[in-house]
Assembly symmetry: C3
Homo-oligomer: 389 residues x 3
C-alpha cells in the first residue's frame, strides 16, 4: 500500500475540474486530469487487490446504453458501478420503446430520474456515436435545469465512432506499469498498425483514441495502414499537434514492417477504411441489406489484398531487441485459432496472452475512477476513506 | 424541508391499511390511502432532491414482469426499487420457460422465494391483464399460507387493461403541485380526450385510470371521444358514481372542442376503440397474424376519419384563459416530430414539454411509496428516518 | 431458532475444505461437506424466515452464464446472490460476443475482474456442459495466478450434462425435513423413475444427480426406465459403489410399477435416452436442423411406446402404505393440465403440488450456502453473525 499512499499524495497535487463533467474524449481533458485519472484507476485497482470495499454510494443507479454488442465493456461497466455501490439498469434498445421513434431527448430524461451516470456505447455509425452522447448530455442538462431531474447524471463514453477512452486509458495505465511511470513513456516508440482481419466494419475508435492520447506523453507514435485505410483526418491532425507540443513525434508509415522497426510497443489491430465507414453509415440507417452485403463483399475482397499485415514472429523481430510489448484491446483475430488468418499469429499472441488480459484488467478501474471523479468533488477523500475502511 | 415536515405530520393523521396489500386499482384504495400515497410520494421526491438516501431495505429482491414493451415504467420501477435498497430481477417471458406452457401459479411461487414485491405490466389483452395480476396474487398467497414462501410479496400494477395506477398517481401528484393542494382540484375542469394517432391498439388504461381517480376530488371531468371509442362501461359508471359522491361532475362529450371549453387541464391521448380491443384479444391469443393485419387496416382507416382530433393551438385557446395545463403520459405522437400527424401539434407540445417530463418524474417516487406503504407497517417512521440520516 | 443453534453447533464439528473451491459435482465433495452444505442451507432458510439479513458481502459481483432457458434456477441464483449482498451480471450468449467465436478462456477472464462467483448452466450437450465449467475454472485459475484477477471466482454448477447439484441438494434438504434427519433416510426406498413426456431431449442431470447423491445415505435407490433410456454408465457405476459403501442398495428396474412397490419416495421424471443425446450433440453443434427434426420425430415416436409410464393414483397405491412422497424438480408435464398426457396425473400432482413447491424453495438457500462456504473460510462465523444482527 506504499504505492497507494504515494499515488494519493500525487493526486492531491493535480488540478482537476472533473466534478459533474462528462467523459467523452480524452483530448477534452487536461494533462493533469488524465494523470489524475490514471492515478485514481491505479489506486482503485490496488484497493481492490487489498480486498478493500470500493463502495462510495449508499444507493443510486447507473444506466448503460449499448447500441452495439459488447461483452468486455459491458462487464467492465457492470463491475465498476457495482463496486462503487450503484445499481445497474441496461437500456436494451431492442426491448424498449426507443426503437419505436421516441426522441432521444425525452428518453434520456425518462431513464434518468435517479441516475448518477449513463454509460453509452455507440460505435456503429461514423459521425453519429459521439454526437448521440452529446445529445443525451444536452437533454439531461435541460432536464436538470428545468427541475425535472434532481441531479444531472454524468455521461461516460464506452466507445463511440471517434474515441474509446475507457480502453485507451486502460492502455495508458498498462504502459505506465510497463515503463514504470508516465515519464518513462517519453521517447518510446509505439506502432499503431492496421492488421488484416477476415471481418470488416470494425470501428476506428481504438487507433484514433491511441494516437490522440499517446502523442501527449512524448512518445514517438507511428500509425501504419494500407492506402485507403486512413483515420478521421481531424484526429490525425490532433495527433500531429499533440506530438509537437509534447516533444514526441507522429508519423504515418506505409507498412507494418516500417512501423515495427525499433518499436518499444506494437498495437496491431484491424479497422475499416474511413471511406467504407462513410458509405456504410447511410446504408445501415436505411437498413439496406442488399447494398450492405455488396459493400461487405467489396470490402472483404479489398481487405484480402493485405493478408500480409499480420503480426508474426518475423515482424516482432524487427522491434527493439525483438522484445516490443504487444498490445490489443481484445478479442484479437488470431491466425489458426479464432480464424484461418488474422491480425496476429498464434505464436506471438500466446506469448503476450496474459499481458493482454492484464491490459484489459484496468478497464473496470478506469471506469470506476471516471465515475468517482465526476460524482465526488473531493474524490481523493473518497479514496482515502476506502483505504481506511 | 418544511413541506416535508408538514407532509409527514399530515401523513400520520391518515388512516391507511396498505401493509402487505397489493396495489392493483386506485378505486380499491380509500381516500385516505390515496392521499397518503400522494404525500409519501412527495416526501420521497423531496428527500431525494435533498440527496438523502431512500434505502429502507438491507437486501431483498424486487421482481418485474413486463408482458409488453416499456421504457419509462421499466426504468421508474428499477429506479424505485434500487433507491429503496432492493435488487431487481426481470422475468423476461421470451427468455424464461413461462412461454413454454408453465402454469402461472407455479412460476409465481418459483420466482418469489425471496421477493418483496412483484411489479407487473400486462396491458395487451382486454379482460386479461388485471386478472393475471390477481392470479399471481392468489398464487403467492397460497404459497405463503402453505409455508413455501417466508413472506408474501406485494403486487404492484405497472399498467393493465383496466388501470395504470402508477401513472395516474404521478398525474395526481403533478396536479396537486400545479393547484397547490388536493383541495385545489375541487371545481377544476379536466378534459380527458381521445386524440388521433397513426398507430392503433393503444391501451385504455390511462383514460380509464384518469376518470376513475380524478372524479374522486370534486373535479369536473369531461371524457371526449369519437363514436365507437368508448371505455369499459364499468369504469365509466364508476366515474359517474365517484363524481356524485365527491361533489364534482362527470360528462361525456362528442368533440375535443367541447371538452376543452374552459378546461383547466387537458389530457389528449389516443386509445383503441373498446370494440376493437375485444375483437383483438382472441386474435392475439391465437396468434392470427392475418386477421390482426386485417383488423389493423380497418381500424387505422377508421381512425383516419378523426385526424381533426389533434390538440393544437386553436383548441388550446378554447381552454380557461387559453392557459390550460397540457398533460400526457408520454411518449406523445407529435405532429411533424414523431409522426406526420398525431395527438398534439409540435407548437403545443413544445410549450409543455418540460412540464410533461416533470409529470413523469413523479412516477419512480409513486412506485417507491407504494412499495414502502405495502412492506412497512410504520412507513411514516421509515420516512422520518430517511429525513434524519 | 433452537434448530438453528443446534445446526450451527453441528456445523462447527464437521471437517470441510470448501474455501475457494468450485461446486461442480456432489460426488467430488466429502460426506462432511455435503452434510455441512445441507446444514448451512437450512440455517440460511431459517434466518430468512426470521427476517434476518443474509448480507455477507459489502459489494461484489456474481456472474451467471445460462446456455439454456431457465426460470427457476435463474431466479434462485438471483435471489441467493442478492440476499448475500452481491450484484448480478448475466452473460447472455446471444447478446454478447461470445457467440462470435471468442475463446472461452479469454471471455472467462474478461468478465471476472471483480467477480466472486460464476454460476453456469450448460446442459444441452452431452459431454460438454461439465467440461465447459472446468474450462472456465482453469481459465480463471490461470488469470488469478498470472495476476490478472485479484481473486479467483468460484464456479457453481447450475446444471450440466452430468449433475444438477443445486437441485439435488435442495431435494436432499427436502428429504431431510420429511424424514426428520439425514439418518432417517437410511433404509428408505426411493424410486427414481423415467416417466413419459410429449417432449424429448430433456437432460439426464437430475436422475444422475439423484442416484449419485442419495446412494450415499444408506437409501435403497431403484432406478427404473424403459430399455434404451439408461443413464451415463459411469454415474450408474458410481451409484453402485456409493450404495455398497453406505450400506444401502442400488438396483435398476424395468418398470415404474416395480420401482414404486413399497417405495417411501418416488421421483418420476422424463429424460432423453443416452443414445439419442449422443447422436443429438453433434447435430446441435453443427446446427443441422433437418437431422434434428428427423431425430426428434424418431425419438417422440419411440417415446410414445411408453405412455403407460405415468405416475397415477393406481401406481401410487403400490408405494408404502400408498403414501410415498412424490418429488419433482418442476415444471412437471401434468396430464390434462400442461399436456394431453405426461409424467404425472393431475390427481397425484395436485395432492403433492405444494410439497413440490416447498422442495424447490430450498434451492436459493442451497446456492447461497454454496457461495458462502466457498468465499468465507469461516462461514459458520458468518452464519452466527447473521443470527445476531
Amino acid at each position: 500500500m506504499n504505492t497507494l499512499k504515494k499515488n494519493l499524495s500525487e493526486l492531491a497535487r493535480l488540478e482537476t475540474h472533473t466534478y459533474e463533467k462528462d467523459f467523452l474524449l480524452t483530448w477534452e481533458k487536461s494533462d493533469d486530469e488524465i494523470r489524475a485519472l490514471a492515478l485514481a484507476s491505479e489506486a482503485l485497482s490496488e484497493l481492490h487487490r487489498a480486498k478493500k470495499s470500493l463502495r462510495a454510494f449508499k444507493s443510486g443507479l447507473a444506466i448503460s446504453i449499448f447500441r452495439d454488442n459488447s461483452t468486455r465493456t459491458r462487464f467492465s461497466f457492470a463491475s465498476a458501478v457495482n463496486a462503487l455501490g450503484l445499481g445497474l439498469s441496461e437500456l436494451d434498445e431492442q426491448k424498449s420503446q426507443v426503437a419505436h421513434g421516441e426522441t432521444v431527448r425525452e428518453t434520456a430524461n425518462m431513464i434518468s430520474f435517479m441516475a448518477e451516470v449513463i454509460g453509452i456505447r455507440d460505435d456503429m455509425y461514423l459521425g453519429e456515436g459521439n454526437a448521440y452522447m452529446r445529445e443525451v448530455a444536452r437533454a439531461v442538462q435541460e432536464g436538470s435545469e428545468g427541475g425535472v431531474l434532481h441531479q444531472r447524471p454524468s455521461i461516460v463514453n464506452l466507445q463511440c465512432d471517434v474515441d474509446h477512452p475507457t480502453q485507451t486509458m486502460a492502455d495508458l495505465v498498462h504502459l505506465k506499469a510497463h515503463f514504470g511511470s508516465l515519464e518513462g513513456l517519453r521517447g518510446k516508440k509505439i506502432a499503431m498498425s492496421w492488421a488484416y482481419s477476415p471481418s470488416y466494419g470494425k470501428p476506428l475508435s481504438v487507433p484514433q483514441g491511441i494516437i490522440g492520447l499517446l502523442t501527449r506523453f512524448g512518445m514517438n507514435v507511428v500509425l501504419a495502414h494500407p492506402e485507403g485505410y486512413g483515420l478521421i483526418p481531424e484526429v490525425v491532425d490532433l495527433a500531429q499537434r499533440n506530438s509537437a507540443k509534447s516533444g514526441g513525434s507522429f508519423a504515418v508509415a506505409p507498412s507494418m514492417e516500417e512501423a515495427f522497426r525499433d518499436a518499444d510497443v506494437v498495437y496491431p489491430k484491424s479497422w475499416a477504411p474511413f471511406g467504407v465507414m462513410q458509405r456504410r453509415t447511410p446504408l445501415l440507417k436505411e437498413g439496406n441489406r442488399e447494398a450492405l452485403k455488396e459493400l461487405e463483399k467489396e470490402c472483404l475482397s479489398n481487405n484480402a489484398r493485405f493478408k500480409a499485415w499480420e503480426c508474426d514472429s518475423a515482424k516482432m523481430r524487427l522491434t527493439r531487441g525483438g522484445k516490443a510489448l504487444y498490445m490489443h484491446c481484445l478479442p484479437a483475430d488470431i491466425s489458426g485459432v479464432s480464424c484461418a488468418q488474422g491480425e496476429v499469429s498464434a505464436e506471438v499472441f500466446e506469448q503476450y496472452r496474459i499481458a493482454t488480459y492484464r491490459e484489459a484488467s484496468y478497464k473496470p478501474f478506469v471506469i470506476a475512477a471516471m465515475i468517482l471523479m465526476s460524482r465526488f468533488k473531493n474524490y481523493t477523500a473518497q479514496l482515502r476513506q476506502m483505504a481506511k475502511d
